[in-house]
Symmetry: C2
Subunit: 365 residues, 2 copies
């Protein structure tokens, strides 16, 4: 644990636990040991009832201020004058928690592509063990977008007595198109000869595969409207002419390549494969056998937020999930962000998120 220079009072740490039989997973596999990287902003109050758990999406990290800095403003959702904020890196990721690059105690080698399937429930159970170790029993709020929202909902179902309020943004079980996009992205990574069945080194990673996968994902994170406004049919800004050379790109092609290249430098291919599988399997009804069994467990107030232009998690799917949760007794509220930013709006337009959640108010009103 080390405090770092930061505008916040931030503690970054890593909690490692080893259950006797390993940390058993829903899929039947096990991890041994398990490390959960976390970041803690501020301190719990004396009653220890002001803790907000922030759950990240696919490529995020425990460091919430890296990707949701705007929410830390005074009067905001993560106002540290009121709340102690904790972020944790999810299992399968490459930002400090146990993932495909971790050494398996069984083999003494990195898991690589043998890293077992991790479900959202597994991630949440590991988070709960971390919070136990920090002496935090209750959460004032658990919040996240996308896969982060899946975690927030599993908190409400799996630990009904621990979270007072769960907010999930752009979250629902993936539909067929979303499953298809993940399927294709994984195939692209595996097509890169440098993927080598998951055995590669940092300096010879499947960079092209992961770059293209990221480009596909970027399409699903944004909207056609936004792309038309920003890029339309403009030629690539470096002056390439698609009427002349086969390798010449339109502006959108240059943008996507740039996004892909940026992503290669900060994300790992096996983690990407692992987390998209985790995302696919989110389906509360399956875990609890029926919608009633799943949603009637919930005691937390639940807020689901759809995004008008989101086509990865379409607002009608989010609304339907909210209606299903509400049907079985949980207090569940649906709100919608009007944005052309697509799925990404929860990161790109945090002010709109704050607005639909009631800026300047207590989070549980």
């Amino acid at each position: 644990m080390s405090a770092v220079d930061c505008p916040f009072h931030l503690i970054q740490g890593a909690f490692t636990f080893a259950e006797d039989e390993g940390f058993s997973l829903e899929s039947g596999g096990a991890l041994q040991p398990v490390t959960i990287r976390y970041a803690q902003y501020g301190e719990p109050n004396a009653a220890r009832d002001n803790v907000v758990l922030v759950c990240h999406a696919l490529s995020g990290s425990a460091k919430v201020d890296d990707w949701w800095p705007e929410l830390f403003v005074e009067g905001g959702l993560l106002d540290l004058e009121k709340y102690c904020v904790i972020g944790t890196n999810i299992l399968g990721s490459c930002y400090g928690s146990t993932g495909p690059n971790s050494i398996s105690a069984e083999t003494g080698e990195p898991y690589g592509s043998e890293f077992p399937l991790v479900t959202i429930s597994d991630i949440v159970r590991a988070q709960a063990l971390l919070l136990d170790s920090l002496g935090i029993d209750k959460l004032k709020l658990v919040i996240g977008g996308s896969i982060g929202g899946m975690q927030a909902l599993h908190w409400a179902m799996d630990y009904p007595d621990r979270a007072k309020h769960a907010i999930a943004i752009g979250t629902a079980p993936l539909g067929a198109l979303g499953l298809a996009l993940n399927h294709i992205q994984r195939e692209v990574i595996r097509l890169d000869p440098r993927w080598n069945h998951g055995s590669y080194t940092d300096d010879k990673s499947p960079s092209q595969g992961i770059s293209i996968a990221r480009q596909i994902a970027m399409l699903s994170y944004k909207s056609a409207t936004l792309f038309d406004e920003r890029y339309g049919r403009k030629l690539n800004r470096n002056g390439e002419d698609p009427w002349q050379h086969h390798s010449a790109r339109f502006d959108i092609g240059g943008y996507l390549d740039h996004q892909g290249e940026k992503f290669v430098r900060r994300f790992d291919a096996n983690s990407y494969l692992s987390i998209t599988r985790t995302m696919d399997t989110f389906d509360p009804v399956r875990k609890y056998a029926s919608a009633k069994a799943a949603y009637s467990r919930i005691k937390a107030k639940v807020t689901l937020v759809g995004i008008s232009s989101d086509w990865l998690f379409p607002p009608q799917d989010v609304r339907k999930l909210a209606e299903n949760i509400g049907k079985y007794g949980a207090e569940c509220d649906y709100r919608e962000i009007q944005s052309s930013h697509g799925h990404d709006a929860f990161l790109a337009e945090p002010e709109k998120l704050a607005q639909v959640l009631g800026d300047g108010h207590e989070i549980d009103v």
Copy 2:
């Protein structure tokens, strides 16, 4: 030229021409010689004014009855009692016309990835030369969907005196999202090590790359609604369980892999690269310097048909193109197919196309 056994009176042929300087292309390159594969259904009448030119989309061929058989019904759009129907394979394709697999007279080798950029205008000019050779001066109708519609529109602009009516379905200049999808598909093909910079043999072609590219394209040809209805979150029909094995797929993944595998057997990677580039560059305003200059040339009646669930060529883009064409004097009509089939509706639901075009009526009413 050979007549084949067919429910139609069908002539299949190939017309080869070699201009002195080669067939010069808009991009500055040239092809020498040029072969255009065609299929002729029925015979022109005495006045030679009953010819319908049918233009195919990305992966189609001259054999219109292979992909639009329903339109040949009595009273239908391609009723051979009334019309002589001609289909031609586009430049760049792998179905008999000059494309990347053809031998370049200059090098004595297949063009491969050196095949020059072909525009829609180039394709249409080659078609016009073919029709000249067949003694067909005027077209009663030129019709096509997607890239086929681009050809129909260029007929109306490039040869204003030759076509009486042009019908384009699901056609507009590609927007940023469409350009992005093509960009990514090309990157995927080039990622396949068997692509080998365009030099491969039939038995060692980049089958995985082209399979994945096709899968991406399939998403853009259909709609999320259709996929949810057909596949939803169902497990793959062969019993794979995504909660157990990393390679296990949902039904949509199995469907996409199947589509990819089927496509590999019938299409060539370099042709795919070439034709998606052709598709990207369609932009009538660019060729003629202004919308007014382009659209005021048109003398044909123009009918543009949008498809309600098409997100590759969104109906609002097709409608906007129709409005622009109409603005400069051409008689231009916009109609819309209500369908959940996405872009593919012009092939998947031909009865709806016939309906919006006025089934049972003469095509030019």
